[in-house]
């Protein structure tokens, strides 16, 4: 089947029901997307499909309906997305394992809602677990990114 990830078209030979997460990680060697729970409980596997935040561990390969963007496609160390830059500025990460998913979720939130309230942020980000407990910084970074994106 065909998949477009971060602007590149790929042809993969996998079972229809193989989760997108594992197609990305093991077939395409795109490792920024993380396995945490496999059952859409932690959000570490969050990617965008046509700009919408989805849990790639619960998205079957055959059901992918559009272009996939992973954290590597959001921005790079040399050209960071505003959300990534805000994550650096607030030094959000501890272990960092959940943060790809957090940033993908945050980027999707801000694309849809450029000026989220505290409640909007709580609701949008609640499905993304952080076992290190960086939530105070995540909230602050989302707000900083929102401001930056609105100025841009």
């Amino acid at each position: 089947m065909k998949l477009t990830v971060n602007g590149t078209a790929h042809e993969v030979d996998v079972e229809d029901d193989m989760p997108l997460l594992w197609v990305l990680r093991d077939e395409l060697n795109i490792k920024g997307v993380k396995y945490g729970c496999g059952v859409a409980q932690c959000g570490a596997c969050t990617v965008h499909i046509d700009g919408e935040a989805v849990r790639s561990c619960q998205t079957a390969a055959a059901d992918v309906w559009g272009e996939v963007t992973t954290i590597e496609g959001l921005g790079t160390p040399d050209a960071m997305h505003a959300v990534q830059q805000a994550w650096v500025d607030h030094q959000v990460a501890q272990c960092g394992y959940c943060q790809s998913g957090q940033m993908m979720q945050a980027a999707a939130l801000l694309a849809e809602n450029p000026a989220p309230t505290d409640t909007d942020i709580d609701i949008a980000m609640n499905g993304n677990l952080c076992r290190c407990g960086t939530y105070n910084r995540i909230r602050a970074a989302v707000k900083t990114a929102a401001t930056k994106l609105q100025e841009a």
Binding site: P77, C95, C130
Partner: protein
Amino acid sequence: MSRIGKIARRTFLVGSAAVVGGVAFGYYAYKRPPANPLLTDLDEGEAALTPYVKIDNSGITLITPRADSGQGAYHVQAALIAEELDVELDQVTVDPGMPDPAYYNTALSAEAAPFRSTDDGFAANSTRGIMDAMMKFLGMQITGGSTTVPDSFEKLRLAGAVARETLKAAAAKKTGADIADLTTEKGAVILPGGGTLAYTELAATAATMDPVNDVTLRDPSTWRLVGKEMERVDIVAKSTGTQAYGIDFEIDGMVHASVRTSPCRGMMNGFDAEAARQMRGVIDIVQVKDGVAAVADNTWRAIQAVNAIDVDWGPAAYPSEQAEHWQALSDSFNADQQDSQFRDDGDVEAALDGAEAITAEYRAPYLAHAPLEPISAVVQVTDDRVDVWTGTQIPRFVQTNVAKLTGLDTDQVFVHVLMMGGSFGHRLEDRVVREATEIAMQMKGTPVKLTYSREEDTIQNDTRQIAMARGRGAVKDGKVDAYDLGIAMPSVVASQMGRQGLPTPGPDLQIVAGAWEQPMQIPNYRVTGYRAPELAPISSWRSVGASTNGFFHDVFLDELIHAAGADPMEERLRLCWHDPSHKTLEAVAEMSNWGSDPGPNKGRGVAFCMSFGVPTAEVVEVTNQNGAIRIDKVWVAVEVGRVIDPVNFDNMVQGGIVWALGHAMNSEITIADGMAEQRNYFDFEGMRLSQAPDIFVKGLENGDTVRGMGEPMVPPAAAALSNAIFAATGQRIRKMPMNRHIDFV
């Protein structure tokens, strides 16, 4: 000001012998620093100036042997070396190096000896010295017990200074300049005329010279990095998805495996893998100790296949129902099972005789570590060499255990430590490496990556101990007069070290840690530890014994203070005799504006605990929102001697509060039919963002000893929450998880 004396050529400074004051027979034999491991594996023109600094013509590498599970250990270690080496953090590569006895942990022993951290007496220090020698003997390269900073604080700055002075000597030799006229900056020696010689250009010369060991550490007032806000060395990688973790490691020809071992931690009677063998991508089905693994061409297929195997498990190696575990603890409060009574001030029995006794019983459940990255390891076994790539806190144990399994010598086992996606103590166990090795031994030459499914990671978790406490106390004239606390739990240390084949003689300090050593002057004050029988396998969970005992000790104190009619903050301040601890209570009172009216339906609770030598005071403020509790704010004052990086410090303390409160509110592991009932984050949730309070942190620097702070914020948090809920509702919550007794918003 620290100096190091003359040390034999090529055996550079390693330990901190200068801080070891003890004398005991057989001790000095181990005082000789272990050899520098980098010297055995150097290429031509490469200089390893200490075990922590490696320079060649292409760059500078700082070796950071304490593992990084997210606590910023690599960053902190690098900053300490860089401070004296005069390099910028963006000029260096950070590498955890290979496991070696040279990297033994000197600070771990300090907290293993049964003396209060506040005790600086001769007996305390000399015993710590003996423990230190033992630790060196065992070569325990362990990351744990909040020891990275205490262990590294002087050692790594000295390592940086030795390297710097040696590079200056090399520059003097090369240019003929007087060494006294040379300075250093940004990875280069500055020559008298203003020219510079990069360290990398000096590596070849330095490699031929004796190291300059006679160095003096700089005065803290001159520090460029330590104590200042820094950008963490890994923050860009972790903000762009480019940080590689253990689970991301790939090597050519690698196959993927997933495993299931007995959920009852017993034997496997047999299995039928017919269906699994037919599944797409499955390469083999192999047996491991007490379980079975599927090997496939990708991770998902391996997990699918192993789950398709029909397995017949033997019975549990411990009581099969949770109620029996609680009963075992309840039955342990007796003289035969008394493990310790390190605290027995005044006369508790006399004080309670005739007084109106206040009694209470407390419970804390089993808890999983559940770091977000499931455990994994890549192992490649050949006839004369084994390579292991994994995120671990115990690389030396891994090396030894893999050598035993494969029959090779430890120097034929190469452990490559990778970045960890959290640990919280989980990676102090090495079952994933042992199992990956068993599989790889059956597929010689092929690198095997074993990845646990989340479900397997949860079921096989060596959990936090369950614990129970019983308090009896009395008050007199508005003050706490008698305090008697008994704590029963199985021995974490015996369970954990038992899996490493190590004996653990004597009392287990963890049974009473966070309770017996509290700096409170209660006239009649006793803390007794009772050793429950071994039940389910348990292991160190962030703050270990204190994670349960900090809750027990302080909530019971709070109950007595309320019975006395005293103010919770005032009475703690009155009871606390230890000045740095007292100051944490003063600070948190000020931060939280203690004594002011919190407003309608709100309540504040304070708690204090000293653990790992770190006094920590916390105030939690909650709102009773129509019968459901919302945590609004938390204030934390913590005494660490010296804050190395204020940003990392603030983040770590906030995270520890979220960790402690989330589990206290929402989580437990329970046993039914001999196995954990929980499987994933839907039934072991911790805290999510919407429940996270605002957390305000203050680091105090009144103590004279630098301390680590990966854990000490955990023990008081649940107590402060329970005390706050009592203040807001009048309901006293003595058992965790609290959501079994009260609703949270």
